[in-house]
Symmetry: C2
Subunit: 169 residues, 2 copies
């Protein structure tokens, strides 16, 4: 059986070694601290909460934009070499478990990545080399969560919905 990591690499087209190249340097330090991460997550969720694609925008409808921004940048800061802000406040990242309420399909992953690429493009406080590393990490992780989503939606052995199905909207 393919592992989550193998599925993530195959579906994203990003090798694990490229995804986790974020660990080769301390990005939090090289980017100069918190602000670039706040900038990125603010740019990202500003796009998401205004997405013209209602099926994607609606995934986030039960969260406040400010909370979504904070949850995201605190996780990124913690994962990329900064202080463990996320765990201090919310505990383990537990990425698959925490994404369980959301339909993390291939299509949703691509829409997420589209907005993240645009958000990175418009974040001047992050240098191009770091952007490349971060995008590889994001792409691999998005498909890791698609794989996790398929796994957790299997109820008593029967898949509830194949994760590549198009949303009904």
């Amino acid at each position: 059986m393919q592992s989550l990591q193998e599925k993530a690499s195959e579906w994203s087209g990003v090798a694990a070694s490229d995804a986790f190249a974020i660990d080769e340097t301390n990005l939090f330090e090289s980017l100069g601290g918190l602000q670039p991460f706040i900038d990125l997550s603010t740019n990202f969720y500003t796009r998401v909460y205004e997405d013209e694609e209602e099926w994607f925008r609606s995934i986030f409808a039960n969260s406040k934009k400010e909370d979504a921004i904070r949850n995201q940048y605190e996780f990124f800061v913690q994962r990329m070499g900064g202080p463990p802000l996320f765990s201090q406040r919310r505990g383990h990242p537990a990425l698959i478990g925490r994404h369980r309420p959301f339909p993390v399909t291939h299509q949703a992953a691509e829409r997420w990545l589209h907005h993240m690429q645009q958000a990175l493009d418009s974040t001047a406080s992050i240098d191009p080399d770091s952007k490349t590393k971060m995008m590889n990490f994001f792409r691999h992780t998005a498909y890791f969560l698609v794989a996790g989503n398929e796994m957790t939606r299997q109820c008593q052995g029967v898949p509830r919905q194949h994760a590549t199905d198009k949303p009904s909207a």
Copy 2:
């Protein structure tokens, strides 16, 4: 609704600030590298795979002991300030998702913690202060996973089994 973190604190009796005191110092460096973590996980799984309680031992029956040891110490090393060995090989820790196949009940958490306390007691390469910090982290995390287990076993809104039920063995 109580968060995973709040449930973990209430059920374990360990405040989040005590659980994540492991982040106040770099335990990997202060313990002198990999060996103490290998010692601990070897001691732990040697006990687990020989547990006289069959219901607990059987939870691990589908994994090889050497694999269980490596998965565990690579995660501990990564989480406690060392190199990201776990993610390089297996991806995100995704603690709740990866524990989904296992019945992480209150009783299983206590049995796990019992063996871990004994394993720590018999690991001379870890100093007493670090043992206390690690045990607080383990206790909180065990109940974080009990909370995660309850969450992920809810199939289409109906709990499959209440996680405090005793195992049938």
